[in-house]
């Protein structure tokens, strides 16, 4: 025995207590004349009752409940303490910690590579002969300005050596 297909949804909405009050009079009228729908309604109501009765809610004992409550309260206290400590130390919200850690790692890595770059030209001990020659050439090019001033320095030395001391010293 099957209920009328066009009333199936109304039937189970009624059983679940969700039927629109406006639809109820028409539905009850239908139930008066349709035995299949009436029986199915009774059957589903009985089935739900059976399920309800045979599925008692599991119960935690008084001790288990108290243990649960105190454990939750303790964990919350610990979390709050930790949050307070973090805020006091860093003054930053927790959500920013990963971003700041990544930034720190990046700064350290960049620092490391730049230090490496600074150290390499001055220390030539680990270079092979060709690299040393190239490095020397590079040094000469870098000190070209000084070489250009060598002429001036040489003339100055010559003047001093020839005894052309300024007149103020001779007078003394």
């Amino acid at each position: 025995m099957k209920p009328c297909p066009e009333h199936e949804e109304t039937l189970w909405l009624d059983v679940c207590g969700e039927l629109d009050p406006n639809e109820r009079p028409a539905w009850e009228k239908h139930l008066e004349v349709c035995e299949n729908c009436r029986r199915e309604r009774e059957y589903l109501a009985l089935m739900l009752q059976t399920v309800r009765v045979n599925t008692p809610s599991p119960i935690l004992s008084r001790e288990e409940t108290l243990a649960l409550a105190s454990s939750i309260a303790r964990k919350l206290r610990e979390e709050r303490k930790e949050t307070w400590w973090r805020k006091r130390l860093f003054g930053i919200p927790n959500s920013l910690v990963p971003a700041l850690t990544a930034a720190c790692i990046l700064i350290v890595a960049l620092g490391w590579f730049s230090m490496k770059g600074l150290r390499s030209p001055s220390s030539m001990t680990h270079l092979n002969s060709e690299e040393r020659i190239l490095a020397k050439d590079l040094d000469i090019i870098r000190n070209l300005d000084m070489l250009e001033e060598m002429d001036t320095l040489q003339r100055l030395v010559q003047v001093v050596d020839n005894g052309n001391i300024p007149s103020t010293t001779k007078q003394n």
């Binding site: 679940c16 089935m47 059976t50 599925t55 809610s57 935690l60 105190s70 939750i72 309260a73």
Partner: protein
């Protein structure tokens, strides 16, 4: 003390209010966790996690919706997250045979023999109890939750939709399918009882 006052005090980190709130509502949360997980210990862990989430976020609750649907929503989401995590863990670390066995597990309550008038009634009662549980546990997870919230917690379809984060139509169809499946699974048992009564 009224629930509203209790919630207001819990929002101000009142330790007594927090413990009192847990004592008042742990059974509801535990029942949901138990029928989602099917395991007592896991249900206890999930209940604890759900309450921690509730209290971590209780200050954000502004009272725009009902506190209970907000609370149930957190409990259901915590349980679903917990189950998902556990399934992922099991997929990684257990063998296929073990996994199938675990999914077929049915939570079993010891029947109270004192309630039945004779041992035969107790036996058939226990069997019916087991059949109902088995039928419930074979329902897909979301159908089972919708059915549980409707039948055991007396929620309306609108509230269930809010708790589960689904459309009302989706919840309706989940309930409809759940009732159909249970009807098929329990037809011998419920029909038999009815006949016996007549």
């Amino acid at each position: 003390m009224k629930d509203e006052e209790l919630i207001a005090r819990a929002q101000e980190d009142d330790q007594w209010a927090i413990e009192e709130f847990v004592c008042r509502y742990h059974q509801k949360a535990y029942a949901i966790a138990y029928y989602i997980s099917g395991d007592r210990e896991e249900a206890e862990d999930l209940t604890q996690e759900a309450f921690l989430r509730v209290f971590r976020n209780i200050k954000k609750f502004r009272g725009d919706s009902s506190f209970y649907t907000w609370f149930y929503r957190i409990v259901v989401n915590t349980c679903l997250d917990g189950r998902r995590r556990r399934r992922r863990w099991e997929q990684i670390f257990s063998r296929p045979g073990e996994r199938e066995e675990r999914t077929k597990e049915v939570p079993e309550e010891q029947p109270d023999m004192g309630k039945a008038s004779n041992p035969m009634d107790a036996l058939s009662g226990k069997q019916l109890n087991l059949e109902v549980r088995k039928a419930l546990m074979t329902l897909p997870e979301r159908q089972r939750i919708a059915f549980q919230l409707k039948v055991f917690h007396g929620m309306s379809i609108r509230e269930i939709a809010h708790v589960m984060g689904s459309a009302e139509g989706t919840v309706k169809s989940q309930l409809f399918r759940a009732i159909h499946s249970l009807r098929t699974a329990l037809k011998d048992w419920v029909g038999g009882q009815e006949e016996a009564r007549i």
